[in-house]
């Protein structure tokens, strides 16, 4: 497979560069657009060189929002998104690691049934069960609350399954050694299992944080009060203005800001993320 052929080398790089351009160009356009004033788009052409209105645009969006579209300041929306993403990620990890622990290490009646019940919920993502879930949340009076935003999204079969696989790779002798060392179930979980799953937890956190941050449909349904808007649903709201031109510089600034936190999480946790996905030695 390892061949030294200049042409193949060139071709491979060309494909890669092309791929990067296809992904990066729209982001570049969005960023450039966010640095221009609102009038620069009236010609119908999108400028490709940076403008001089960047500080103004971002400053206004962060502090004031856009009243005409019913948008609270972006800082508030980003805060809401952060709360939602963190709660979902941490909640999912906490619940699924505990249920995986129960399924792998305890012999209780209907253990297999419990596992399969969790497993088949994989077939029921939010979109499929959205109406009944909405009804439940509304009946519990959780509309326009952080609890309503996050709790219905916390149960996770995927994460439970992942932790189950991780625990299955940990040799039984370790649990037995811990028993002889006088560690009860909670101590074993806390002192041995958790530290040993650290990398997997980190990898899962990255995935789940992005999942939570990018939620669109669910926040759109359960929030009507602007103080609970999240930034991802906010972008769409801004483009839907009535009787006037969409203000593309503001929309693009919002898009860029909405992209930033997931990117930061990936960059900062990259090492742990990769380790958690490929590590096998226990």
């Amino acid at each position: 497979m390892v061949e030294k052929r200049p042409f193949l080398n060139f071709l491979a790089h060309a494909v890669l560069v092309l791929g990067v351009l296809i992904v990066a160009f729209p982001i570049y356009v969005a960023f450039i657009a966010s640095t221009h004033g609102p009038t620069d788009f009236l010609s119908g052409l999108i400028p490709l060189t940076p403008g001089d209105n960047m500080v103004n645009t971002y400053g206004k969006m962060m502090t004031d929002g856009m009243a005409s579209a019913g948008m609270p300041p972006l800082s508030l929306q980003m805060f809401n998104s952060l709360i939602m993403a963190l709660t979902i990620a941490i909640g999912k990890i906490a619940i699924s690691i505990i249920s995986a622990y129960a399924i792998v290490y305890f012999r209780f009646p209907f253990r297999g049934l419990a596992f399969w019940l969790i497993f088949i919920t994989l077939m029921l993502p939010v979109e499929v069960r959205i109406l009944p879930t909405y009804h439940v949340v509304a009946s519990l009076g959780m509309l326009d609350t952080y609890a309503g935003l996050t709790i219905p999204l916390i149960a996770s079969a995927t994460a439970t399954f992942l932790f189950r696989q991780v625990f299955l790779t940990i040799p039984d002798e370790l649990m037995e050694a811990a028993r002889i060392d006088g560690a009860g179930p909670l101590k074993f979980f806390w002192d041995i299992l958790l530290p040993m799953s650290r990398n997997n937890i980190a990898a899962l956190f990255v995935i789940l944080f992005i999942y939570g941050w990018n939620q669109y449909l669910w926040p759109l349904l359960v929030t009507t009060d602007p103080s609970h808007y999240t930034i991802v649903m906010g972008i769409k709201r801004m483009a839907d203005v009535v009787d006037s031109q969409p203000q593309w510089n503001y929309i693009m600034a919002t898009a860029i800001l909405a992209m930033l936190p997931p990117v930061l999480v990936v960059i900062l946790m990259q090492k742990l993320f990769v380790k958690g996905l490929i590590e096998t030695e226990k």
């Binding site: 040799p171 002798e173 370790l174 037995e176 050694a177 811990a178 028993r179 002889i180 060392d181 006088g182 560690a183 101590k187 002192d191 041995i192 530290p195 040993m196 650290r198 030695e281 226990k282």
Partner: protein, 349 residues
């Protein structure tokens, strides 16, 4: 330090499988007892029952006079060394050693005194702050033993601790375990499928087969007077030759060959001869065993000649300078013949 008593101990799994049946054992204080047998004979299950990792479905196990059937492993005052070491990978060696003591709420000074003492005994002081991942197999084995020592338990349980090591290291660690046990004087139960390990380590051997005890005795007793054909073929390397024979008076007949027995017997029997108890005699000697050679293994100190006698596979150990031929005539040393019942394989006499 404590004596361990097993009273008609048995283990039946939920599916009805009988892993261990009616075991009675008295293990003296300070004794090194080795459980040996082929895989699936129940030796590990028995050890794990003593440790408390398996429930006891029949009988009673007492450690130091206290019946421990319902006692948690941590409360049994035992320490166990596992085959794959079972070190906590995210803890340093020091933390691995200290973990069990910390869980017992022992004072910090006492923990560090014991850890340092164990590190000194096992010569692992240089890597107390490393993670197990950074250690070699032999070093990990030492740490696993250190974890057992620091607890100062009344009994060590070893579950095939040397199986994961290479041959040279295994011999070295074997010697170290023996010396360590002699120095600490802690009652030990050691499980292995390796008869050489069993012979070299044990004060007493327990040979298990199919969940039952075949024989209990010192290594020499078991070697010299195996209680059954199973023990005879399992203990000793190369394995004892077993062949059907017909006894008349105190003489076993194998075809034309005759072997003197120590006890009188009549009729069909199984004759056992250890390869090292044979010597070559002049070809054509009357009553000698006639070996048709198939192949020879050179061991340096001796050569093992394999072939058949009267159609039964047969091996004998010859001096390394012995002449080789396609046919050898062999005679047994006096008193070397073992006689077993032809049906149930029990030793006669």
């Amino acid at each position: 330090m404590a004596a361990i008593t097993l009273k008609s101990v048995g283990k039946t799994y939920a599916g009805g499988v009988n892993a261990v049946r009616g075991i009675d054992l008295d293990i003296a204080d300070g004794e090194f007892l080795v459980l040996v047998g082929p895989s699936g004979c129940g030796k590990s299950t028995l050890l794990r029952m003593v440790a408390g990792l398996e429930t006891i479905t029949d009988g009673e196990i007492a450690i130091g006079g206290r019946v421990v059937n319902e006692v948690e492993p941590a409360e049994r005052d035992i320490a166990m060394v596992f085959q794959n070491y079972a070190l906590y990978p995210h803890m340093s060696v020091r933390q691995n050693l200290a973990y069990g003591l910390k869980n017992r709420k022992m004072a910090k000074e006492e923990i560090s005194r014991r850890v340092d003492e164990a590190a000194r005994i096992l010569e692992i002081g240089a890597f107390l702050d490393r993670k197990p991942k950074a250690l070699s197999g032999g070093q990990r084995q030492r740490v696993a033993m250190g974890r057992a020592i620091v607890r100062e338990p009344s009994c060590f349980l070893f579950d095939e601790p040397l199986s994961n090591l290479d041959a040279k290291l295994r011999v070295q660690m074997r010697g170290e375990i023996k010396q360590l046990q002699a120095r600490l004087g802690t009652t030990s139960i050691y499980v292995t499928h390796d008869q050489l390990e069993a012979m070299t380590l044990a004060h007493r051997l327990v040979v298990l087969n199919g969940g039952k005890v075949e024989q209990v005795g010192t290594p020499l007793e078991v070697y010299r007077r195996p209680a059954s054909t199973f023990v005879a073929s399992f203990i000793g390397s190369p394995a004892m030759n077993l062949m059907p024979a017909r006894a008349e008076g105190a003489v076993a007949h194998v075809g034309a060959a005759r072997v003197q027995l120590e006890i009188p017997a009549e009729g069909a029997m199984t004759l056992g001869l250890r390869p090292e108890d044979l010597r070559a005699v002049v070809p054509g000697t009357e009553g000698a065993l006639h070996l048709k050679t198939a192949y020879v293994e050179e061991l340096g100190a001796q050569r093992l000649v394999h072939g058949t006698v009267e159609g039964t596979p047969f091996g004998c150990a010859m001096p390394s300078d012995a002449a080789l031929a396609d046919e050898l005539y062999l005679a047994a040393e006096p008193g070397a013949a073992h006689a077993f019942d032809a049906q149930d394989g029990r030793r006669l006499g």
